[in-house]
């Protein structure tokens, strides 16, 4: 099949053609800036992170203690206004060992792989947790079910962000 394929004429484009403006080029920059309203629930969640605490909401009907906290239970479909502090310890539900950065470039030799994980937080309902990263651990030693604890940034460096927790480390 491939032997029968013939180049159908025309001139292939080169990077140089684009750079030198030999072909039509239009440049533009996408300026989409957003200032999202986090709302009541996430606002308080972030404010509590700044204090070095994790807060959840509890549904009065199904009794789930939910993370991240929400102002309504999406299953019972009723408002939730019972706030509960939960621990900063938990159990690894799942994890991955990432050999690529966010921009798809591969990690360099000797660079530690990124270790995203879902951590079920102690005090929250089963299956409720925080998506974060693991640290101070050899990748090959991580196990599902492993107990971990949050490592917080120093108080003065916290900004009210999920990154106020640096990572979770094995207990």
């Amino acid at each position: 099949m491939s032997e029968k394929l013939k180049v159908s004429g025309g001139t292939a484009l080169s990077e140089e053609d684009i750079r030198s403006g030999k072909i039509f080029v239009t440049e533009d920059s996408l300026n989409c800036a957003y200032a999202w309203d986090t709302g009541v629930a996430i606002n308080r969640y972030l404010a509590e992170l700044k204090q070095g605490r994790i807060i959840a909401t509890e549904c009065r009907k199904c009794k789930r203690v939910m993370l991240p906290p929400r102002l309504f239970c999406e299953l019972c479909f009723i408002p939730c206004n019972t706030w509960r502090h939960v621990k900063d310890t938990g159990t690894i539900n799942t994890f991955s060992i990432c050999h690529v950065h966010w921009d798809a470039s591969r990690i360099k030799e000797g660079e530690d792989p990124h270790l995203p994980a879902v951590i079920e937080i102690d005090g929250a309902s089963e299956g409720m947790g925080i998506m974060h990263i693991l640290g101070e651990v050899e990748p090959e030693k991580i196990k599902i079910g492993m107990k971990v604890q949050a490592v917080w940034k120093p108080e003065t460096e916290r900004t009210g962000s999920i990154n106020d927790i640096k990572y979770f480390k094995p207990l």
Binding site: A33, Y34, W36, D37, V40
Partner: protein, 387 residues
Amino acid sequence: MSKRVAIVGIGCSGFRTTSTDLSYREMIFEAATKCYEDAGGIHPQSIDSFVASSEDFMEGISIADEYVPDQLGAVLKPVQSIAGDSLQGLASALMQIKTGQQSIVATSAFSKVSNLSHYEKVAAYATDPAYIRPLKEHPYFIAGLEMNRYLFDSCSTREQCARVVVKNRYNAFLNPRAVYGAKITLEDVICAEPVSAPLGQFDISGHLDGAIVLLLASEEKALEMTDKPIWIKGIGWATDTPNLDSRSEGLGSAHYAKLAAEKAYKMAGIKSPVKEIDFAEIDDTFSYKELQHLEALQMCGFGEAGKLLEMGCFEPGGDLPVNVSGGSLGIGYLHEANGLQRVLETALQLRGEAGKIQLTGVETGLAFAWRGIPTATGTAVVLSNRL
């Protein structure tokens, strides 16, 4: 396919220029809760399917449809998102019931435009990157071009366009959902700063945050759920070519509106729209659009809307009240949620629940939404409180 479908629940929240206290999820939850209570206190577990309308660029989240379920009570339910005006979402919800696939369907839309720092940049990104964007015009230039050609073709006047603004912003005074109510004069509008002349500052509707949720049900379910069903008698939508320089019948026309309305009237069995429609909530994103759309929707002849407006025909006490709610100029511009906002106002009128803006003796109303610049997409819906 003969199944009749009614609106059985209406809920909205927000309708403010900013809503910094609530996330979009919390705002929609409020609207959904009100809607379900309005429909007799239905739990979303009993709703078969959900349709949301949104535009990812406006929200700043790609695949925004995946963020729909929680606030509507739609977790693990059939959920669909329509990237278009929410009347197209309504059409989709309607079809799900008409085909017999579902009996009860919720449809929603919201605007959090206050979270967007540069609306005009996003609007500009809706124009062609090769031959429109390099001209580097503010996107409202399209409205200026349309307005100028519409005035030329129809022999309508700048003053008549200004009169639309005066009417709609005054109407808005009595509507608790409207935030741009004002008592302004023709001179205020005409002398306001030009934006893309002849379009001036006051000819443009202001932005608004808000969420709307409507619940639709088959005839059988509707009659069980409410004693005030609002029947969706007909719906139609159409999209013209995106080419600004070669629109069907020119930039001065709104051919998409004409075609959408023709389909909606046919489905509703309406032969004489002027005689059979009691009032209309139609797109007035820009002042001239109300006149242009009225003509395209066959509410009057081409070039007649301006004169009829001057005669008071479109006032709340006129022969054909138009945008008694205040329209987008008076309520505010809700982007993809505009369509549901027009249905909301129409349905409340037909229920007799429009409060201080209530019209007397209305049975059939027309809601029409345009998707805004630079689009040429419109959807028309005929609603009635009679089966």
